[in-house]
Structures are given as structure tokens and as C-alpha cells.
């Protein structure tokens, strides 16, 4: 495997211009959509089959309901090291590339939509026109030609940085120290730790507050971790039911019950 590629989004630099969202649409030739009123400048509520990039806006209010701080975060597929969508996919359409990114092979996907409900970040979307699931590929065509994703290229403030994961981790940690000395006590990295949740995220973030401020799960979990326990409980239930059957149908005459 080649060195893992990653994206580091520093929300402290984001100005909410949505150039990334536009660049993504242009490069990936994603059709326009009806705008949605979300109550903020954010459009849309969710990632869609035509929006792989989504700048999220959050208004943090104080006790009196006054806006305390305005948060902006350019959100994207996390390309998780342990990816719920990839594990869920029954067809093998979702695969990991040599760069550690997660892609959906559009020629294999049969549109079962299991990945849509298995993503802990609500990234994968179903395209009703093609009948397949779609999401950000980190601009697979561009990165295989050394160009880097369109969103990172377009970002005017370098809030979105793209490169090798180990290099970006160093940059991110330096930036955290910088922000802490500037007084941003709650500044923290989300998904950078490759020994952490989901084996680390290949799109990781620098947040200025708790993940919940940005609508992100504090401890994202790989849904397939449930399979072993759920299966064991099912087997237990099967044994109880089978035993009940043996007792109910055993013996002579009218008696003998469960």
C-alpha cells in the first residue's frame, strides 16, 4: 500500500465561503439542486448524491439565547480507516484504494442502500437517477494524477489541506499548540488519532469546541462491531427455541408441553 493520503480541515481558518462546495460540484459534474432552508447559511441539511462537500454552519448561543459564536466547518467523507459503509456493502462495490481512501465502484453497486444507514456520519447518499450509492472519492481521478482534491485546491484560506496523513498530523498538532497559546482552550483534533475511534479518520478535523458543537458524534462507532454479540444472542435464542420445540413435540400421548 502506498502512503495513506488524508485531508486535514482546520475550522479555525474556515470563512464559510463554500468555494470547496462549488469546486466539488464543478469537478465531479454534480447537478444543481433545489436549495433547502435550514435556518442558517448551510445548504443542504445533509450530504446528498449531488453534494459531496457540505459547509456546515452552527450558531452557538449563550444562556440568554444570544449568539455567542458562529462555527463553520467544511464537512466531507471521512474515509474512515474502519469504514461502516465498506463493511456493510454486500457486493464488494465499496473498496479501499491503495491510498487508504474509500471508494464506491459504480459498476458494481446494485443500490441496496445498506451503506447509507451504516455510515456513522451520514455521508453516503443514494442517487435515484443511477440507482447507486455515491459519496466523496477525495477526487480519485485527480489524486491518481497528483492534483489533489478540487475542494482543497479551491480553499482560499487553506482551511482544507491535503497530503500524506503522517505529514498532516504533524501540521495539525503544531496548529493546536498555536491555537492553545492564543487562548482557544477547547481546540482539539477530531479523528487524527489512528489508534482511536474507527481506526482514525483519513479526513480529520481541528475543532474549536467539543465535537457535539459541530453535530459530530463524540465517539463514533463501527456498526459492524455489533455483529458478533448480536449473532451470539441470536444463537442463544435459537437454542432456547429449538429446545422448546424438542420438549413440545417429545413423548407419547397428549401431554408434554413447553
Amino acid at each position: 500500500m502506498a502512503r495513506t493520503l488524508a485531508m486535514f480541515t482546520d475550522v479555525s481558518l474556515c470563512i464559510g465561503c463554500r468555494a470547496c462546495q462549488v469546486a466539488c460540484k464543478q469537478w465531479n459534474q454534480l447537478a444543481p439542486e433545489e436549495p433547502e432552508w435550514t435556518g442558517t447559511y448551510q445548504n443542504h441539511h445533509h450530504f446528498t448524491d449531488k453534494s459531496y462537500r457540505l459547509v456546515r454552519f452552527f450558531e452557538e448561543t449563550d444562556d440568554k439565547g444570544q449568539i455567542k459564536q458562529w462555527h463553520m466547518m467544511s464537512d466531507v467523507c471521512k474515509h474512515c480507516a474502519q469504514a461502516g459503509c465498506l463493511e456493510a456493502c454486500p457486493t464488494g462495490a465499496i473498496y479501499r484504494t491503495e491510498y487508504g481512501t474509500v471508494n464506491i465502484n459504480q459498476d458494481i453497486c446494485n443500490g441496496c442502500r445498506y451503506c447509507v444507514s451504516a455510515c456513522p456520519f451520514g455521508v453516503v447518499a443514494f442517487n435515484h437517477d443511477t440507482g447507486t450509492a455515491t459519496k466523496c472519492t477525495f477526487c480519485n481521478d485527480r489524486i491518481h494524477n497528483g492534483l489533489g482534491p478540487a475542494c482543497a485546491k479551491a480553499c482560499p484560506t487553506q482551511s482544507i489541506k491535503f497530503g500524506f496523513r503522517d505529514d498532516l498530523a504533524v501540521v495539525a498538532k503544531k496548529r493546536i499548540d498555536e491555537l492553545k497559546t492564543l487562548g482557544y482552550k477547547d481546540a482539539q483534533l477530531y479523528g487524527e488519532d489512528s489508534s482511536g475511534d474507527l481506526g482514525g479518520l483519513n479526513a480529520f478535523f481541528l475543532l474549536l469546541g467539543k465535537p457535539s458543537v459541530y453535530g459530530l458524534p463524540e465517539k463514533p462507532k463501527l456498526p459492524q462491531r455489533n455483529v458478533v454479540v448480536d449473532s451470539l444472542l441470536s444463537i442463544g435464542s435459537a437454542l432456547v427455541v429449538a429446545l422448546g420445540g424438542l420438549v413440545a413435540f417429545r413423548g407419547r400421548g397428549g401431554q408434554g408441553g413447553a
Binding site: 453497486c109 443514494f126 440507482g131 435464542s237 408441553g257
Partner: protein, 311 residues
């Protein structure tokens, strides 16, 4: 779609119908197998109807699943692709064009559906030939019944495990859905056999009484699994999960949950059974009880999936 991070697969009721029929097929097959193992002669009607129901209930499954796909012509991709990718998940096994992903319940379920369909066909064929006066192939039937029984259990339970392996708030901390779906399969499988027996006649006496006792027992397991599911989800803690659970038991799904899944599907049939109303001589009551169990069995799967997908 409501604000929030997660998205839903938005599976239509078609999928619920498949899960329901798959449960009946698995349950009926296992009951027929157990009855056949203990006394194939005495329970001949239970065995025959059980294997017929298993075959008939599983047959629409692949069609329902295929119709729901975004690209129905690619239904075989569930099992095989001509040029598989290399890195497709934990412990994935690729043999030629075929792939098995043990951590993808949908993939494992597709294999189980294929395997079960084969054994359900063989079992139904065997009882059909015997009924038509052919020679009974006892050993073959036992082998088909036992191996098929494992597939049958898998088919009944895997939809619950499949839901549990999503990020939906109602399912992600659940754990008991596979056990619940298996018990529903057993109770609805038993009810389906009992319904046919009580309507068509046949062995109404001892065999039907025993079948109803087993079905009542499966209902108790179902009730326990349902209670454990609600309890486990309610103790998981996060606000989103609490909201999803409230939607199921008190919100817009509260009435079908309590009335359909609990009262009609479990409490009334159990009360009828324990009150001793179900006599050997009252096939109408048995038929009614079986119908209630079937309605409740569909309701419990439908309402859990609907609430889980909506919240």
C-alpha cells in the same frame, strides 16, 4: 428529512414483507424438522405443511429483494462480481468471482437465502413425492432437515443482526434484534402451520395442541427478547437514541407498537393459550389465535424498522 447527521436507507415495506416471510419460512422449516426428527409418522401433517410453508414463504424473497434494488439487474452482485476488488472488508473471502463477507449481514444473508431456498425446495419436494405415493426417503429428509435447519435459523435471525449493524440510533445499541426476529420467526412459523392445519383439517388433535404449546413458548421468548431490546436501548443513554426509542414506544409508532406488536401479537394469544380456550375441538379459536400471532409478528418487525428508519 429531519436535520441531524445520520441518513436512512429508507427501505420500503417490501423489505418488511420479505423479513416477515423469511421468518415464517425459517420457523416453519425448523418446526417441521423437529417434528420429523421426533416422530415423522405421528406429526406427518405438521411436517408436510411446515415444509410446504417454508418453501412457499421463501420463494417470493429474492423477487422482493431484487425489485427494491436501485439496479435490479445487478442482484447477483450480492454473491458474485466478475472482477472483485481486493480490499472489500474485514475477513472477506473471495473465491473466483464469489465473495463472502462475514461482517456484512446482508451478504451473509444473501448466501443463507440461497442455501435455505435449496434445502426448502428439497424438503418440500420430498414430502410432496411421499404424499403422492412415492417412497419416503427418511434419511435424506433428516439430512436435508438438519442442514436446512441451520440455514432456517440464520434466515429468520439475520435481518435483526443486519439492522443492528447500522448507525441508526434505535439499532446501534440494540443487540437483541436478531434474537427477537428469530423468536418472531418461530412463533409466526408455528402460527402459519397451525392456521393451515386448523383450516384444512388434518391432524387436529394431539399434534396441533403440541404445536400451539410450542408457538406459545416461542411467544414468551419473543416477549422476553422485545423487553430486552427496549431495556438495552433505553439504558444506552445518548439523547438521539432516547429520542428514537420514545418515537417507538410513545410517539407516532406507539399505538401500532403496543396494540399491534404487544397486545394483539403476544398478550392476547398467550392469554387464549393459558386460559385453555384452545381445545382440540375448537379449530376456529386456533385459527384466530394463529392469525393474531401472524398480524403481531408483522407488526413488531414493521414498527421497529419504521421507527428506526424515521428517527
Amino acid at each position: 428529512m429531519e436535520p441531524g447527521l445520520l441518513k436512512s436507507a429508507d427501505w420500503p415495506a417490501l423489505i418488511d414483507v420479505y423479513f416477515f416471510l423469511g421468518g415464517i419460512a425459517g420457523g416453519a422449516f425448523v418446526i417441521a424438522t423437529i417434528a420429523n426428527l421426533l416422530d415423522g409418522e405421528r406429526y406427518r401433517d405438521v411436517v408436510r405443511i411446515g415444509y410446504y410453508i417454508a418453501f412457499l414463504a421463501v420463494t417470493p424473497g429474492p423477487i422482493l429483494l431484487t425489485v427494491d434494488l436501485g439496479v435490479p439487474t445487478r442482484f447477483l452482485h450480492m454473491l458474485m462480481v466478475s472482477k472483485p476488488s481486493l480490499a472489500i472488508g474485514m475477513d472477506a473471502v473471495t473465491v473466483g468471482p464469489f465473495h463472502l463477507k462475514p461482517f456484512s449481514p446482508m451478504n451473509a444473508g444473501a448466501w443463507a437465502l440461497l442455501g435455505f431456498s435449496l434445502f426448502a425446495f428439497l424438503a418440500a419436494l420430498d414430502v410432496f413425492l411421499e404424499h403422492r405415493g412415492g417412497r419416503s426417503m427418511r434419511t435424506l429428509r433428516v439430512v436435508v432437515g438438519v442442514i436446512g435447519g441451520f440455514f432456517a435459523f440464520f434466515l429468520a435471525a439475520y435481518p435483526g443482526v443486519l439492522l443492528g449493524a447500522t448507525a441508526r440510533p434505535l439499532f446501534v445499541g440494540a443487540h437483541w434484534l436478531g434474537a427477537l426476529f428469530l423468536a418472531v420467526g418461530a412463533s409466526t412459523g408455528g402460527a402459519a402451520i397451525a392456521l393451515v392445519l386448523s383450516v384444512l383439517g388434518g391432524q387436529r388433535g394431539d399434534a396441533l395442541a403440541r404445536l400451539m404449546r410450542f408457538t406459545a413458548f416461542a411467544l414468551i421468548v419473543q416477549l422476553a427478547a422485545l423487553a430486552l431490546f427496549v431495556l438495552t436501548v433505553s439504558t444506552t443513554g445518548s439523547a438521539g437514541i432516547a429520542r428514537a426509542l420514545a418515537q417507538l414506544i410513545a410517539g407516532s409508532y406507539g399505538v401500532p407498537f403496543w396494540l399491534g406488536a404487544v397486545v394483539i401479537g403476544i398478550v392476547v394469544p398467550l392469554a387464549l393459550q393459558f386460559a385453555g380456550v384452545v381445545r382440540k375441538t375448537a379449530p376456529a379459536i386456533t385459527a384466530l389465535m394463529s392469525l393474531l400471532i401472524l398480524v403481531g409478528g408483522f407488526a413488531v418487525k414493521y414498527v421497529i424498522i419504521a421507527a428506526g428508519q424515521a428517527t
